[in-house]
């Protein structure tokens, strides 16, 4: 297991380098000169030259590239092209809001989706299964921005239970602000987890080793929750890892709807202001998330399934 973890960690290095390379060149092949974008069309050639020198844009491409890689690896993203604020600080302020949202949504997804999926599989075609199917249908067909607005209308505007805007100050206030956005994202996650768990468990319950467990005299509850569910969790974990990555882009919409000052809001602001350095840093952070989530998914799968580490 330790060998496997080390191997997976080593594999992260080329992935990160590849991602950084893609981010760098994607921004370089975008049309338009960042200097002109920042200073306006009527900037003097002198001002443009100074600007380019300040950002290192006058250097050869490979120098820019290695500079960028070195900066990214040391988490030094420079200053915003727009207002000169250190990007590291901007990210530091925004990240907790996005991370807490993603974690809360995932927790909701697991806490609701896993048991519901397991129970609907066990009571297949029963009343609970019908409810589960309805739940999944609603979860999948409601777009998150629409569902978010709906929640805002009902629970903030009319009932005034939850705040409308912002991320909150202090732990409890932030928690209070987190509830509605987390539910918005978490519901879809729960629907997805439920469907995945249900189909995976139904498949596993047909396996011979489930019959072996029953034949040993194991109570049905333990047959399902010990013998079957652990096997069913392998595809569920992989699926949820992939889904969590798509949810990361989902945080952008939800942050916009609830005006949360998270990474999504920061990035959208950067894009509309053509703040190249900010967008570049935001992309690196998102890419870093992807790598981390993938790594955690793999390690979790290996913890569940002993066959993985020994391959």
């Amino acid at each position: 297991m330790i060998g496997y973890i080390l191997r997976r960690l080593l594999e992260v290095i080329p992935t990160v380098l590849l991602v950084l390379t893609l981010v760098f060149f994607a921004l370089r092949i975008m049309p338009g000169d960042p200097a002109i974008a920042a200073l306006g069309e009527f900037a003097t050639p002198d001002a443009i030259a100074r600007f380019r020198e300040k950002l290192g844009l006058n250097q050869p491409l490979y120098m820019q590239y290695f500079g960028f890689i070195a900066q990214s690896l040391t988490a030094d993203f420079g200053t915003s092209m727009n207002n000169g604020a250190p990007i590291g600080d901007l990210l530091g302020q925004a990240l907790p809001y996005t991370i807490s949202l993603a974690l809360a949504a995932t927790s909701i997804g697991i806490v609701i989706g896993l048991p519901l999926g397991a129970m609907t599989a066990v009571h297949r075609d029963g009343k609970l299964d019908a409810f589960g199917r309805l739940f999944a249908l609603i979860g999948f067909s409601l777009p998150d921005f629409y569902f978010g607005i709906l929640l805002l209308l009902v629970f903030s505007l009319h009932l005034d239970w939850f705040p409308m805007l912002g991320g909150g100050k202090g732990f409890f206030d932030q928690l209070h602000h987190l509830v509605l956005p987390a539910i918005t994202l978490g519901l879809v996650m729960a629907a997805f987890t439920m469907r995945l768990t249900r189909s995976s468990l139904l498949e596993v319950l047909k396996r011979d080793y489930v019959r072996t467990a029953r034949g040993k005299g194991v109570a049905e509850r333990w047959v399902i929750f010990k013998h079957a569910l652990r096997n069913a969790l392998i595809p569920v974990t992989t699926g949820m890892g992939i889904y969590l990555l798509t949810t990361l882009s989902g945080t952008i919409t939800v942050e916009l709807v609830f005006s949360r000052p998270g990474l999504g809001t920061l990035l959208i602001g950067g894009v509309s202001a053509r703040d190249y350095t900010l967008v570049q840093a935001g992309l690196v952070v998102f890419a870093f998330f992807v790598v981390v989530v993938n790594l955690l998914t793999d390690l979790l799968c290996a913890a569940i399934d002993p066959r993985i580490t020994l391959r």
Binding site: Y209, G215, R230
Partner: protein, 320 residues
């Protein structure tokens, strides 16, 4: 009193295409420490019969519709689930056909054996583990301490089947039900597993029900044989008697189709025709479309099981 007494057992499958009578009025009994073989082609209901003994048939679609299975005087068919769980793995151990799929891939084999021990003997974790290692040694696994901590995928097919046998024996059951225990294994491993079963039977005195389609397997392993055809019991005889003087035309056909090195047949004999589809059984005797001795009554009435002398019971109109 016999250890196991199956009377008039009927297991039906309720499918979209109608009701399939997978096991239809089968009766047999087994005394403690004795062994019985159940023989027949695939689809004849022998596995369904075996699984019914512990009510392990997949419900739905299958259901025991009538009959009784008395184990130590208690009817398994009407037993409550807690009683049934106390029986499974404790009084009756089961060996399954495919050792590659019948072990849980995410638990070590030691854990899987110890689980049964903990459930039924309420042993501590350590005591159960020690018993698992002991059982692995009993079934002839070299270095059982190490193998107990191995996962199923780290073991070969033959080793896995030894583990399954060990799991079935962990709580010293009175009855061992082996459902085609060698079918999925290589020929050399088959012989080893059969030898192991023979040795264990001698050492432990466990009653054995051995289900197989391979007559060669049962010849020197069981005391009595039940031959099944299309869900029906067609012949029941002591094993020597069955090989020496098979009575039912189907049994005779089965024995003729076993390849032999002693006779100079160039072609292997087969039984003409195939088993009728489960939802379209012929009236009367189910073997009548393939039988050389067929007569009018065979199309009209099912033959009863009658004594044919020498301990043999047979269900055939041509013999009554």
């Amino acid at each position: 009193m016999s250890l196991l007494e199956v009377t008039d057992l009927a297991v039906h499958l309720f499918t979209n295409r109608g009701v399939v009578r997978a096991v239809d009025g089968v009766s047999f009994s087994l005394d403690a420490g004795r062994s019985l073989g159940i023989v027949g082609e695939s689809g004849c209901g022998k596995t369904m019969t075996a699984l019914s003994l512990m009510r392990l048939i997949p419900e739905p679609p299958a259901r025991i519709v009538s009959g009784s299975i008395r184990f130590d005087g208690e009817d398994v068919v009407t037993m409550s689930s807690p009683r049934l769980r106390a029986l499974r793995g404790n009084q009756i151990g089961m060996i399954y056909q495919d050792p590659m799929t019948s072990l849980n891939p995410v638990f070590t084999v030691g854990e899987q054996i110890a689980e049964a021990v903990r459930l039924h003997r309420h042993d501590t974790r350590n005591a159960a583990w020690a018993r698992a290692v002991e059982v692995l040694r009993l079934v002839g696994i070299p270095d059982p301490d190490r193998v107990a901590s191995a996962y199923p995928h780290q073991l070969s097919g033959g080793m896995r089947q030894r583990v399954v046998i060990g799991m079935a024996l962990a709580c010293d059951p009175k009855l061992l039900v082996a459902d085609e225990p060698t079918t999925a294994l290589d020929v050399t491993i088959q012989a080893q597993i059969l030898e192991l079963l023979r040795r264990l039977q001698g050492e432990l005195g466990t009653g054995i029900i051995l289900i197989t389609h391979d007559l060669g397997v049962i010849a020197d392993l069981v005391d009595d044989v039940v031959v099944m055809y299309a869900g029906k019991l067609v012949e029941h005889a002591p094993v020597r008697r069955l090989f020496a003087a098979p009575r039912h035309p189907y049994t005779q056909g089965l024995l003729r189709s076993v390849p032999s090195l002693e006779t100079r047949e160039h072609r292997l004999l087969t039984i003409d025709g195939t088993v009728p589809p489960a939802h379209a059984m012929p009236n009367g005797c189910r073997f009548n479309p393939r039988c050389a001795l067929v007569r009018d009554i065979c199309h009209e009435q099912e033959p009863p099981l009658v004594d044919a002398g020498g301990g043999t019971q047979v269900a055939c109109w041509a013999l009554t």
